[in-house]
């Protein structure tokens, strides 16, 4: 690059000028930092999802598909139960989205067996048991509902009739009919969802739990 001639720098100037220059140099840095902060801090906050975004969904009961439910009343195998829930996809207007959960018909004896097996849901320690959300709503009128989302990393699993297991294609997690983890990397068993009977019809609450943790932490209701 061509030589820069800067005559102004040859003469150091009077002590007063030097002092003023020192002030201006520091003031420039300070003011520049202020400019950066005025733009930067709001931008950082802007990029972080705030309270209003994180609370786009709220807990709600959704009626399940009646035909699916009728099939479940006579089925020994777990069945997909369709339902429609209100979802809000970011900035889009809320809309009805069809989704499904897994329904399992269970006798009292089968449920007692599930209770004994599922230490992730029914820990022997009573105080810990209280921390499992919605436990008093998971077994209603002989049915248990499991979320269709794999607790490992959020893929969808399916019931394999030939092997009598729930199988997740992503990382080979397997669960038995009670939702107990029987193989693969998942940190907990399947997540039961709240179920209730409302004027003769089954309703469920859709909950998305945090992936990959032994505990169930509610992430969202949509």
């Amino acid at each position: 690059m061509s030589q820069v001639h800067a005559e102004a720098y040859l003469d150091p100037g009077t002590p007063e000028e030097q002092s003023r220059r020192a002030f201006m140099a520091n003031a420039t840095i300070v003011l520049g930092t202020v400019i950066g902060l005025v733009i930067g801090v709001p931008l950082l906050a802007y990029s972080v999802p705030g309270k209003k975004i994180n609370e786009l969904s709220s807990e709600a009961w959704s009626p399940v598909d009646e035909a699916d439910w009728t099939k479940l009343t006579t089925s020994t195998a777990p069945l997909k139960i369709s339902f429609t829930r209100k979802t809000t996809d970011g900035y889009f207007l809320p809309e009805a989205t069809s989704d499904y959960v897994w329904g399992v018909k269970m006798s009292d004896a089968q449920y007692a067996k599930m209770k004994a097996e599922r230490t992730d849901l029914f820990p022997p320690d009573a105080t810990k048991a209280e921390q499992v959300p919605y436990m008093d709503e998971i077994f209603v009128a002989g049915y248990v509902i499991f979320s269709s989302i794999c607790p490992h990393l959020g893929c969808r699993f399916a019931w394999d009739d030939s092997k009598n297991i729930f199988f997740c294609p992503c990382h080979n997690s397997t669960y038995n009919r009670d939702g107990e983890r029987t193989g693969g990397p998942a940190p907990r068993g399947l997540d039961p969802l709240p179920l209730r009977e409302q004027s003769g019809k089954a309703e469920i609450t859709w909950i998305r739990y945090k992936s990959s943790t032994p505990d169930r932490v509610v992430v969202s209701y949509s």
């Binding site: 970011g90 990393l153 959020g154 969808r156 990397p185 945090k210």
Partner: protein
């Protein structure tokens, strides 16, 4: 001319200065990896800019606009495929550049910071790969990103915050797509360009490292321009040629649109994340996931950054650095082994499910869309389209507004209690139009039940008021308007029903 510009800008001497540089030991094809990487980056930026001219980031439009690029945009598939293979080329070239610098010991004093910036550039390139992967919003993009986001969220301390930040909320949705788009298209490329400039400024400050010889006196300098530049250009041309051939012979895949409810699809990471994927496989359990996906990659990156200070050997000669050579070889073998392991795991899983790579871009969804697009528009007299009349003809709309809309409403909404809505009415949209043709021809008297509501009005017969082709066109119109998507009705069908 040059003098005129030079005297006013200094650009000519600046360019000369830029091109005038010693190449220790003379120009060599060994020096092309850096410039070839730079070329791949420019290719990605240029093709990326043009892709945004059609691509629309949102969960409702990302996949559709991507498919549009494939199907409708001239050279669309080619440009997408250039970007797709360009990404692979860029990552491969960065990796080769990194390995070469490691083998030649070029990271040693005084080039430690140039190496550190280079490692950061490598990571930024991987960030580009990861964020770009989601943008087509197809099945694979959706589930692979869902998995990587949940892995992020499972990391201790900052994990949950980072997942929330990347997702743009508690769950993965359209905000995730927009966040990834912003990171992929604006943030990372800007950082990349800035750091490439820093990388090059440091390079010019220290000069080219030259071949790995401790005795520098034996190295006669050669010219950068035009000798080395020619080799760099040749290398870039070969890279482009390979990318173009791959783009033509093996276009970028596009799966069916993301469907969160799909429970059969086996997602597959990009090849450059196969190693990480395999670490997740071989370290099961919660602790294993932490070790495999967080601890080991972090240690790897820290090791790379600290390499200039860990390697205290002052020599650059390959035969005098056996330890460094062994470590480099082990690094490459582990990376290759993990990647091959990951790929074969994915292949085995996909084969077990009978899942094949999509042959038609967009899979079954795209085939359906193509079919709908290829279906002829409802047959009617007038060819003039009318804005706002979706898929139906202007003639049918005219018949409707002159004869039907006073009872059934301008938008087919009906009149409560008397005349049923036509929008969303299953009698209107039945696959076989026979019944609805009969109602229009002969009229109907209520009460009748539509969607749970009773209507008790009277529909007059129209067979003496309207001609068969008018009835056909108005039926076609009401069957394809206001959200209805039933087939067209022909004049022949009306005439047959009238007999």
């Amino acid at each position: 001319m040059f003098n005129w510009i030079e005297s006013r800008t200094g650009f000519v001497s600046m360019t000369k200065n830029f091109l005038t540089e010693d190449v220790p030991g003379g120009p060599s094809y060994w020096y092309v990896f850096g410039s070839a990487t730079l070329f791949a980056m420019i290719l990605q930026i240029v093709t990326g800019i043009f892709l945004t001219m059609y691509y629309a980031p949102s969960s409702a439009s990302a996949w559709e606009s991507t498919l549009f690029i494939y199907q409708k945009v001239p050279f669309g598939q080619f440009i997408i495929s250039l970007h797709y293979w360009g990404a692979t080329a860029m990552i491969a070239l960065v990796a080769m550049h990194l390995v070469q610098v490691a083998v030649w010991g070029a990271y040693k004093r005084p080039r430690e910071l140039q190496w550190v910036v280079g490692v950061v550039l490598f990571i930024l390139t991987l960030v580009l790969g990861l964020t770009g992967y989601l943008l087509p919003w197809d099945l694979n993009a959706y589930f692979a990103s869902q998995v990587s986001l949940n892995i992020t969220g499972a990391a201790p301390i900052a994990g949950p915050f980072l997942q929330n930040w990347l997702q743009g909320g508690p769950t993965m949705n359209t905000l995730t797509l927009n966040k990834f788009f912003g990171i992929h298209v604006w943030l990372t490329p800007l950082l990349l360009i800035l750091l490439v400039a820093v990388h090059l400024i440091i390079f010019r400050h220290n000069g080219s490292a030259g071949p790995p010889k401790d005795d520098r006196r034996a190295l006669r300098p050669g010219r950068f321009w035009p000798n080395q530049m020619w080799m760099d250009t040749m290398a870039s041309f070969v890279v482009l040629l390979v990318i173009v051939i791959l783009a033509i012979l093996s276009p970028a895949p596009l799966d069916a649109k993301a469907d969160p409810n799909n429970d059969q699809f086996v997602p597959s990471p990009a090849w450059y994340f196969m190693g990480l994927y395999f670490l997740l496989e071989i370290f099961p359990g919660q602790l294993g996931q932490f070790i495999g996906t967080i601890v080991i990659p972090t240690l790897g990156v820290v090791f790379l950054i600290l390499l200039p200070w860990l390697d205290r050997n002052p020599s650059r000669e390959i035969r005098r650095r056996p330890a460094a050579m062994i470590v480099t070889a082990i690094f490459i073998l582990i990376a290759a082994g993990l990647s091959i392991g990951g790929q074969s795991t994915v292949n085995a899983k996909a084969a077990a499910r009978g899942q094949t790579a999509p042959t038609v871009p967009g899979g079954a969804d795209a085939a359906k869309i193509a079919q709908e697009a290829a279906a002829p528009l409802p047959a009617t007299g007038s060819a003039a389209g009318q804005p706002g009349v979706s898929g139906a003809s202007a003639a049918g709309a005219t018949v409707f507004s002159n004869n039907c809309s006073s009872c059934h409403g301008a938008t087919g909404q009906g009149t409560p209690g008397a005349f049923p809505p036509l929008a969303g009415n299953s009698a209107v949209t039945a696959a076989d139009p026979k019944e609805i043709i009969g109602i229009v021809l002969n009229g109907k008297t209520g009460p009748l039940n539509v969607n749970g509501t009773t209507y008790n009005g009277t529909m007059p017969p129209w067979k003496s008021q309207l001609k068969p082709d008018e009835i056909a066109s108005v039926l076609t119109y009401i069957r394809s308007s206001w959200g209805n998507h039933a087939s067209a009705v022909s004049t022949a069908q009306v005439q047959a029903a009238a007999k």
